[in-house]
Symmetry: C2
Subunit: 408 residues, 2 copies
């Protein structure tokens, strides 16, 4: 693709009320556009990043038996009233319909999926089940200043599991932790992301968050360096400042961003909807549930908050909308040929074909956009290409073949 | 995939208020689930159909230069007020936020995209532009009885084009008609779908609908068999019952479903947002716009309304969630081996591995689900496979190799 074909442009201006670093960088680079606080459009390159995150998450959820569906956002008040959340859930947008019915815009989907699954589950033979969706969620936040980290509208993956008993839930709950860590590794946050104990609600001692340690995180966590786990602020006094795994009293205070959370729900949402199953002995029992959330757009924000420098974003290869930013300081034809050769080898390349932009502008746009490699063809480099690694900042002369080997 | 792994089941029961044929068949087969009138969940096989439609639409929109983005559903009242639609647009769901702001849930996106594009367009050199999204839309309908044909929440592709002048718009408008007809051909509605003249609004004489002729369609159109075009009821008297292309007075009355519509918007949405460009002579002019809608979920409903028989759905190959429904009346191992061989050859197959279902139940489920081929392995057929073509109803004995050649 060519820069001249993209309708977005980089800019130095960001909306005055935009204080978050992730949104500032993403807006400046033309990945997203702000419509209102907590409400963004994903522009062509931003949508490519979102789609890459979605693909990784899908693969990992399918890998632990997930079946993908798509539920609606308009959820009748009757469903919310069954669980008491019509009154209790602060962040619910409440909408009146022309049919004189009322809807809550989906902030979470237990109230849709529990009665849905009830229509298909009768016996223990129908369980376990793992069902997920990637869908747009709404939260009626009082304030939304954290860019993609706290949206009023955002893209989320939510998986729900259904079991005959708590042991089976426990096994799947552990399995999901591995799948979550796989996601964070694959999007470049593996080293910074830590399993974090949080309060568990009625049905279990703990729930778990996945927290990415980063300077400007809005959460505070306390990390045990021995176990590579952490606890959140909420439960610190409850566990008497001890690591819940090894008893270690030396916990490090870190700033972090929550990038996922998993919960054992027990029968909290199956009971109100009569979601039962008949066991081997013919007895009717409530289904045991778990839920597993992961913010797709929030993860995009967390990656930017974590992987950037003074000049812009530093995308991991797995998420970059293009692998190579190609600048031709000689004649155009050379870049076109190289671009074709890269594309033939499965490497996505963006060619900066602007004639009215200086080399300096092109170089700084390449840094801001943050693709893994910047490739420059100039008269000085002869048959070789000057390749800059965005992450290390190192520049080396490479042949076309070497660049192809580097980039995929 | 195996039937035992799917959490959905076929059923004879449909919600009592569900009068539409498309929803009845899709619910009975387990493709969708009804949450409220006009509000449905897409279950695993239904989502596969949706994703196949989306892929086809994406390819055709990319083919006419479309750049994909994703806009939000929460649109501030200020944007709607600029065009007068906060007051005028009946179908707008109006929502109050905790921040004391008001939002209209996106029923259409001119009010988002026009001010967005304004931030990136300055000169005639930045035009033309073609920008689209596939996104969930909301319409506050008084009644919603047509299943996927009239949702309160539905999936839509909307493309908007931006031009320097009306000639350029006209050229693209024609091009879009070809791309639309390609979509309808590829989803199996090519022969039934006809370009239909409708009223044009302020900026042009006509707009155009794409109408699929089918017995239970909710619209009435008048088709000129000579030109293979039609006019809708609205403009029949205006055009004095004459074909607008050839003047033919013999127009056939047909029932039809609207599956797409395209509009010349002129400056209706660019002017209120100050979306201007500077022309070659340095003069500032308003951008000329067009819009191009296509309901993804509606198209799924239209396919079912059009392509079915008394026993169930008859999916075209391009949309079927699986190509082959495989039933083994002998030992299981044979089906597993055949399934592996089909999958290796890129053919999606669903194996009915249920042990508690009779052959009769399996046969009728195969018909209801409507994949292109039903394959039966039995003791009677020896080394061959009994293959039934869902569309023609013909049954033939085939070798594995012949089945593989048939199905892709």
């Amino acid at each position: 693709m060519k820069v001249s074909q993209l309708f977005t442009k980089t800019t130095k201006e960001v909306p005055r009320d935009e204080v978050s670093l992730n949104a500032q960088l993403l807006i400046r680079a033309g990945y997203i556009n702000k419509l209102a606080p907590g409400v963004y459009s994903y522009l062509p390159m931003g949508l490519r990043v979102i789609q890459k995150i979605e693909k990784i998450v899908r693969e990992e959820m399918n890998g632990i038996g997930g079946q993908e569906i798509l539920m609606p956002a308009l959820i009748p008040d009757a469903n919310w009233k069954k669980t008491g959340r019509w009154e209790d859930l602060d962040v619910l947008f409440r909408v009146a319909g022309a049919d004189r019915k009322h809807y809550g815009l989906g902030a979470t989907h237990e109230e849709v999926l529990s009665p849905l699954v009830r229509q298909y589950v009768n016996s223990y033979k129908d369980l376990p089940l793992y069902i997920y969706q990637i869908q747009t969620k709404f939260r009626n936040e009082l304030r939304a200043k954290a860019g993609l980290l706290r949206g009023r509208e955002f893209i989320m993956k939510d998986l729900y599991s259904f079991h005959t008993d708590e042991d089976d839930l426990e096994k799947y709950y552990k399995k999901s932790q591995t799948a979550y860590m796989n996601v964070f590794k694959r999007v470049g946050l593996g080293q910074q992301t830590v399993l974090t104990f949080a309060s568990g609600g009625t049905f279990s001692k703990y729930s778990h968050e996945f927290q990415t340690v980063t300077k400007f995180g809005e959460d505070t966590i306390f990390t045990c360096r021995k176990c590579s786990i952490a606890v959140n602020k909420e439960i610190l006094s409850e566990i008497r400042n001890q690591c819940p795994e090894c008893g270690n009293l030396k916990l490090n205070e870190d700033r972090a961003i929550e990038v996922g959370n998993i919960f054992k729900l027990g029968t909290k949402y199956s009971s109100p909807f009569g979601l039962n199953y008949v066991d081997k002995n013919g007895a009717e029992k409530p289904v045991i549930m778990g839920c597993y959330g992961l913010g797709i757009s929030r993860l995009m924000g967390a990656v930017v908050e974590t992987l950037h420098d003074a000049n812009g974003i530093v995308w991991p290869k797995s998420l970059a909308p293009f692998q190579v930013y190609l600048i031709d300081l000689t004649k155009k034809q050379k870049a076109v040929k190289l671009a074709q050769s890269l594309i033939k080898n499965g490497i996505d390349v963006l060619v900066d074909d602007r004639v009215d932009a200086s080399p300096g502008v092109k170089f700084s746009d390449a840094d801001l956009l943050g693709f893994p490699y910047r490739a420059v063809i100039s008269n000085k480099t002869g048959n070789k290409i000057e390749v800059k690694n965005r992450q290390t900042g190192k520049t080396q002369l490479k042949t076309e073949k070497q660049l192809i080997e580097l980039a995929p």
